[in-house]
Amino acid sequence: MTVKLIVKKLSKLFNDPKGEGLKRLQRGESKEHIFRETGVVVGVNDVSFEVQEGEIFVIMGLSGSGKSTLVRMLNGLIPPTSGEIWIDKDDIASCGKARLREVRRRKITMVFQHFALFPHKTVGENVAYGLKVKGAGKEERRATAINALAKVGLQDHADSLPSQLSGGMQQRVGLARGLATDPEILLMDEPFGALDPLIRREMQDELVALQKELKKTIIFITHDLNEALLLGDRIAIMKDGSFVQVGTAQDIVSEPADDYVRAFVADIDRSRVYTASDILQEASQVPYTGTAADVLKVMDENEIDTLHVVQKGKAIGFVTRYDALSVDPETPVRKLMQAEPPSVTEDVYLNELFSAAQSGVPVAVTDEKGRLLGVIAPESIFEHLIPDEEPAEDDTDGTGSPNGDEPEKAPETAVLADAGETEKEEGRA
């Protein structure tokens, strides 16, 4: 993978004509201190990152954290105070107006929080706007617009006015407009922030599906950590104009960099963060050609009660201890196994695992080609839904828990863990 966007030491200070604030910032004075003494507002403070081609890079932060300022610097809507922004061979921060316009026309587009559709243009004309400013002909514009609208399922609305569409549909148009010029980078500034929760979920899923096909480099801004975790290949958590932590969803949830991130992570929906591949355990298996005696031997060695039967790397069935004991030891496995074990692919999130796990049998995890990668015991799903052991470690360190919620959660954790234990023991008996 190649790096598509490089941001180096980017800062933006508002209301700083003399550069006094920048000097103080470089000396390491705090944002509040600078504002109090000089009236200079630090929007973005020394942010550096790289985005890979085809990656969704989510910048997550609360309002006032500087995320909107940051994303507007990436396409030059706000000129940075210092730093560099490299897209291929162009530095957005220092290239001239004409060059910047070229980059905007060919390489980078934007989707806005409040859609920002032109109310006097039809949906089709809105989508084709980027082509029009480039000077594309009428037929080409129309064809491209219909094409882009088809990607978001709105090809029949090309001649409507934006005001005739619902909020969700309007943002689809916004997305289609961003995609119409086939840019390499798509900036999305809280694109689903103005939509109601149901539509937002729908749009998130749709973006994921679309991204699988388009593989654009996307910089996605949000204030919703669940959204960030769902969409982001990597996530940057922003506070007071700086990045606090950059990492994958699993990194951020399992190893929050500081109390600020930990407070965020405390009440997110973990079942949407971890995938089957994150929690799978090595599968104990017997070959297709084995016998009941082999099954019992493997079970005893591993202290388990269920085994998957594997043929050419694929799990074709499973055997329980009860099944194996109730037949003659020489019975071949294929006679006593139960076919079609519950199975999921490795990229499935935990919240989609519940139905597969409800039979109580370990769930087989397979790759795209159906090869068995491992298994997930139903109880281990619950273990991963509980906030990590970190609160427990904090407790041993002392009482100074950074998050007021945690003491309340501790008993709950214990109960769930107990339940898991008893289940296991019962199973073994």
């Binding site: 809507l77 026309r105 934007m110 920002a116 980027g130 029009k132 006015l161």
Partner: protein, 317 residues
Amino acid sequence: MFSPHDLVTIPFDDWMNTFVRGFLVPYFRPFFRALQVPVTEVLNTLDAFLAWVPMLVVTAVFAFMAWRIVSRNMALLAILGFAFVDMIGLWPETMTTLSMIITSVLFCTVIGIPTGILVARNDLAWKIVRPILDVMQTVPSFVYLVPIVMLFGVGMTPGIIATIIFALPPIIRMTNLGIRNVRADLIEAAEAFGSTSWQMLWEVQIPLAMRTIMAGLNQTLMLALSMVVIAALIGAGGLGLVVNTGLGRLNVGQAMSGGVGIVILAIVLDRITQGLAEPRTGGSSLREALLSFLKGQNTEAANSATAGTAAPQDKAA
């Protein structure tokens, strides 16, 4: 009692006399004379044209515009009004006034809209233009009639130039307002897709400011109409002259006739230009408007949006 007057007296009137008579008139009169050439040309052409077109044709054209842009009732009113003006024998004067008004509004538009666009996009320009507009709107029009006569002479054209000065501010202000009020995120969007400054103006700012600009045009038109009588004082003809003559001879009836003619012209022009500024609201009568409102606002809003935006779009395309 002491007053500053005891210390210093400023001969402001003498200064102004010297400035206008001793400086502007001798040195710049040819310049101002040249300025009025285009105005005279447009006015004469228009005046001759309106005098040549039969009364019935003019009425039909105005009735048609009123019907298409406003409502059937307005068309009827226009026909009745124009017929009344013709019957009281003031048709030629009304046409002269109409050509004066169209000329001054035309020049106001040609000067005002570009100026409005300029000051909307340049804060420094707005800082300079704004006090000038304030002065133009507060100085009584009689004050600048005298220097206008000195520089331009008497007649129709000086009357129109006075009218232009008087009626220009609203269209500049409203154009400025309309363009400045275009939503910031739309400007950002246009910029983010790589628009040039001109593309931004033609594709986004002007179409979205069009309604406000049309409201400014309507204001300018109304001010131009109200200047008709005053302009007649320096030799402009038309209905204003009728009113002035009536006043001078204490002929109440004549003054009144001229006044009625102006009012009728004002109503017809006002409604038509207001109709241009506001999108149509479906039904032409109050009853129909209410019915469509009750039936469903959405479809109607959509219709009106289509009607309201079709025109600017065509221009932009």
